[in-house]
């Protein structure tokens, strides 16, 4: 027995019929055809499916689509605006904050919420803040740098250097 839901996805209102057991991540990927939100595990451990629900980051594999009824959802596809990419997207690209790109959407959305709550986090706060999101490629150094860069940009401050720093 399908249920009707209405939600706002990346600023656009959608109504759909969903099976009650459908996970939000499957709804977004399969019914809404937005494949930027990824699936990396089956235990809600990896964070690749992280999205924003009413501005709060959540793993979309832990929520049923019916629970998102009436909510406002932002996925990676909703980060850029007509003005250009979001500072977090710029941060990741400029600072080599990604390699295979699979964890990146979830990582960025988690960072967006973190920076909105805490505009100038310390490195330790950033590391704890993204500890629900696994990355297997980057070793996290440049993800931290990317988030610091985005933070500076969102605060309107001078941007930190994006050049790699080496032990000399």
């Amino acid at each position: 027995m399908k249920k009707s839901i209405t939600l706002k996805l990346n600023g656009e209102e959608h109504s759909a019929e969903v099976e009650p057991r459908t996970l939000l991540v499957h709804f977004i990927r399969e019914q809404m055809d937005m494949t930027g939100t990824h699936i990396g595990c089956d235990t809600s451990s990896c964070g690749a499916c992280t999205i924003l629900i009413d501005g709060k980051s959540a793993k979309s594999c832990t929520i049923l689509a019916v629970q998102a009824n009436g909510k406002e959802i932002t996925t990676v596809e909703g980060l850029a605006t007509s003005e250009g990419v979001h500072p977090i997207q710029e941060g990741f690209k400029e600072n080599h904050g990604l390699q295979c790109g699979f964890c990146t959407p979830g990582m960025m959305l988690r960072a967006v919420e973190m920076l909105e709550k805490n505009p100038n986090p310390t490195e330790e706060e950033i590391r704890w803040g993204i500890s629900g999101n696994l990355c297997r490629c980057t070793g996290y150094n440049n993800i931290v740098k990317s988030i610091q860069y985005a933070g500076a940009k969102m605060r309107g401050e001078e941007l930190p250097s994006t050049e790699p720093v080496f032990v000399e």
Binding site: C41, D42, E77, K93, C135, T138, Y140, N142, V167
Partner: protein, 794 residues
């Protein structure tokens, strides 16, 4: 330090060019295999064995077939009709696609359900009833050769016990003689744990067989699309799927690390399903299935070193017991069943060594995949770096000083190792000097002395390793007979913009950016004007793929040479247009000019245009070149890593305080990308050193087969890595590069293990197996009766 020959605008080698591929990845428009959606596509789910070793009495799929939307249930018996129930592994062993009578490990594929959507397939899967007759499994490899152990592979002709193969290298007798006569001999038994690559994207495919054209398009997460196409043709050629009827497309890959080289049964079942049903079939592996159906490492190594009392290494001896599970599912070059394990004499100069390995069948998942490692280099490096530290401990010498005294000197290259390799180049002293300076080694040792007085646990660990990558020269290296060359094809359009295609396949390494930089370096066409394409067997030239740090050493070399062929053509065109002889021209990145008259010049773009519009009679039109590069030797990157740990005396929690990694990969194409590779590889080295191991109980149940309990390090566990480099170019590589992707994963574990063991030195601990956890430290100290009081006063 890194010199750039081209301008920033051209963006050749040495520039930290921002990655081209990132525009799609940061906007969610990457295209991974699970994003493939085809018309009429069906979905496949796989039922797996709950037992490690069992006879299948029956499979009842009637209830599953009755579910609305279920199209088919496929079993081994079905595949047997087409002789598709077994397949070769890349090591010329055999592996079941689906079993007809026996399951050999927990999690093995037993049957597949094909249905209209993912959920229906999963629902139906739960309704398949399999009746098993459970048998006593062989789990402990040390007991696999016992007289009462069941013969696990009676299907293999001539197989009398559970040994898969034996391998050895070096001089056994000479080594024994040195050991018998040496003043100092040290020995440790080590286990390199069974781990998993755990790329955040699992494996998967969409098999799309078109009955009308008898053509298969296979979208799949493979690091080696061309080799896979050949394997599919070998497996399914007899049912009409010959190689020209197969197109493999490897889309964006969410991390590979060697885990996406083999052919897994799921791929073959999906192909068979699509072939039988005539519709596209998607299979996406669950994470739990992914973690428990292949593996890397699992080497039990007895490592020995013989030396003098004052610290001169004389010989090493290593004996390996390799647990391969029920089949050898590794992807090593054919002649090297232990891969490059024979690099295990390391960075040190001594004449005598012997190594041997016995591979064992057990009731565990097959594999032995080269996880971010040039075929078992990680195992070798761990053994040599640990036993070197053990030797230093035995004779009371500082492990850094011992290494300095035994390093191969830079004027000894090319160096011939006792196991038969010719190391191309290296400057090990320079690397370790830089690492020690950066970490302030002497200060740390002084701090450690003070801390030890107070009973505080602080350790410093080194790893000064040599890698062996870039497989490989065709005289020795092949996979299933196919030589391990790789290829590049460059096509420059009339307007001076180019597309370049390769036989390799990036999984995050950034090839779209770095290959373009190599071509930019050679041709002077801005790297931003060069599109790089890989992964489609219909368009890319044949190659063996991306693993074992081979892309830069092979396809990167091919790019440089193909570009040089084009530069030669450009020179001819310039001579024609400028009406001078070729010898009168000189090249600077992006243009030829007349010697002594620099105002007379032609840019590369003008020359390319002329090749389509105004080329001389007798010259072939167009501006294209292809090169298949067969390397004359492997490349030998090296590194000097120093790790500092602090261990909490109450909880034994281990904290990596600092980690300095100095790598030498020869010339660097893109410092930013190379550094990113090192960062990521270091975290993947930290993982098995302190966190990761797939643990099996005595019945063969995987005890931690999910990401909830298989502990992939997060940003909290991962320290802030400090990296740098020395540059010793490879003398035989066209651009002097060696490959960097795997060094950190290879070099980091022993640095961390050595640091932890160093911290525990006052308590008589000489070795601990990785992953070293607080619980293991607790047990070690308890065993020694040291936990009755505060460890600080013990």
């Amino acid at each position: 330090m890194i010199q750039c020959k081209t301008s920033k605008e051209i963006g050749g080698m040495g520039h930290s060019v921002k990655r081209k591929e990132d525009n799609r990845f940061v906007t969610g428009t990457g295209h991974y295999v699970d994003d493939v959606k085809l018309k009429g596509m069906l979905h496949m789910d796989i039922i797996r064995s709950p037992y490690a070793y069992a006879k299948i009495k029956s499979i009842d799929s009637s209830a599953a077939m009755a579910v609305d939307g279920v199209v088919a249930v496929i079993t081994g018996k079905d595949l047997e009709q087409y002789n598709l129930h077994w397949m070769p592994t890349l090591m010329s062993d055999t592996q079941m696609v689906l079993p007809t009578d026996t399951v050999m490990h927990q999690g093995q594929e037993v049957a597949a359900v094909i249905a209209k959507d993912r959920q229906t397939a999963r629902d139906a899967r739960e309704l398949i009833v399999v009746d098993y007759d459970v048998m006593k499994a062989v789990i402990n490899p040390f007991k696999a050769l016992d007289a009462d152990a069941p013969l696990l592979r009676p299907d293999k002709e001539g197989q009398k016990d559970n040994q898969a193969w034996h391998w050895e290298v070096g001089d056994k007798d000479a080594t024994e003689k040195v050991f018998n006569e040496a003043d100092v001999v040290v020995k440790e038994q080590m286990h390199i744990p069974r781990i998993h690559v755990a790329s955040i994207e699992t494996c998967g495919c969409v098999a799309d067989y078109n009955k009308i054209d008898n053509h298969l398009t296979m979208h799949m997460t493979t690091q080696a699309p061309h080799a896979i196409r050949t394997v599919i043709a070998l497996v399914a050629g007899h049912v009409g799927l010959t190689e020209e009827k197969i197109r493999v497309i490897s889309p964006d890959i969410g991390g590979g690390f060697g885990g996406k080289v083999p052919v897994f049964p799921g791929y073959v079942i999906a192909i068979a399903a699509s072939f039988l049903i005539g519709k596209p079939v998607k299979w996406i592996e669950d994470r739990s299935d992914n973690l428990t159906n292949s593996f890397a490492r699992d080497y039990h190594i007895t490592a020995e070193m013989a030396g003098t009392k004052d610290g001169k290494i004389l010989a090493t001896r290593m004996k390996v017991l390799a647990d391969h599970g029920y089949t050898d599912g590794a992807a090593n070059p054919s002649k090297f069943p232990t891969g490059m394990f024979s690099i295990g004499t390391g960075s040190y100069d001594y004449p005598t060594a012997f190594m041997e390995a016995d591979a064992i069948y057990t009731n565990k998942p097959p594999g032995g995949v080269a996880y971010r490692c040039s075929f078992r280099v990680t195992e070798a490096v761990h053994a040599i770096e640990r036993i070197t530290d053990r030797y230093a401990l035995e004779i009371g010498k500082d492990p850094a000083a011992l290494r300095f005294d035994n390093f191969i000197k830079k004027d000894q290259f090319p160096y011939h190792s006792p196991t038969g390799w010719e190391y191309d180049s290296g400057d090990y002293h320079a690397g370790l000097e830089l690492a020690m300076k950066a970490v302030e080694y002497d200060k740390l040792r002084a701090e450690q002395v003070e801390k030890r007085k107070k009973g505080e646990l602080m350790g410093i660990g080194l790893s000064t390793f040599t890698e062996i990558v870039g497989a490989g020269p065709s005289k020795d290296f092949d996979i299933l007979g196919i030589k391990m060359f790789d290829s590049a094809e460059i096509r420059v359009h009339p307007t001076g913009k180019a597309i370049a295609r390769f036989g390799t396949k990036s999984q995050g390494q950034g090839h779209e950016t770095t290959y373009a930089q190599i071509i930019a370096e050679e041709l002077g066409i801005p790297s931003s004007d060069i599109t790089v394409e890989e992964g489609d067997t219909d368009s890319a030239p044949y190659g063996l793929g991306t693993y074992a740090s081979r892309s830069t050493p092979t396809a990167g070399a091919a790019a440089a040479i193909a570009a040089r062929k084009l530069r030669d053509k450009a020179r001819k065109l310039a001579a024609y247009l400028l009406e001078v002889s070729e010898d009168d021209l000189e090249w600077e990145p992006g243009k030829f000019s007349v010697k002594g008259a620099p105002e007379k010049s032609k840019t590369i773009q003008e020359l390319v245009f002329a090749s389509y519009t105004n080329h001389p009679q007798g010259m072939e039109a167009g501006f294209e070149a292809t090169h298949y590069y067969d390397p004359p030797n492997l490349t030998f990157p090296s590194g000097a890593y120093i790790c500092v740990v602090d261990i909490d005396p109450d909880t034994f929690e281990i904290k990596v305080r600092r980690f300095v990694a100095i790598d030498d990969a020869g010339h660097i194409i893109n410092p930013m990308v190379a550094q990113g590779q090192v960062h990521g590889g270091l975290t993947q080295g930290l993982a098995p050193a302190m966190y990761e191991e797939i643990i099996y109980d005595e019945d063969g149940n995987a005890l931690n087969g999910t990401l909830m309990d298989y502990l992939v390090p997060t940003a909290v566990e991962s320290p802030s890595w400090e990296t740098g480099h020395t540059v010793t170019p490879s003398p035989h590589h066209p651009i002097g590069a060696k490959g960097i992707g795997e060094s950190p994963t290879v070099g980091a574990p022993p640095a961390i293990a050595n640091a932890i063991v160093d911290a525990l030195k006052p308590y008589g601990i000489t070795h601990m197996d990785i992953p070293i956890t607080p619980a293991k430290i607790f047990e070690e100290l308890k065993k020694r009766g040291l936990l009755d009081t505060d460890i600080r006063t013990a």
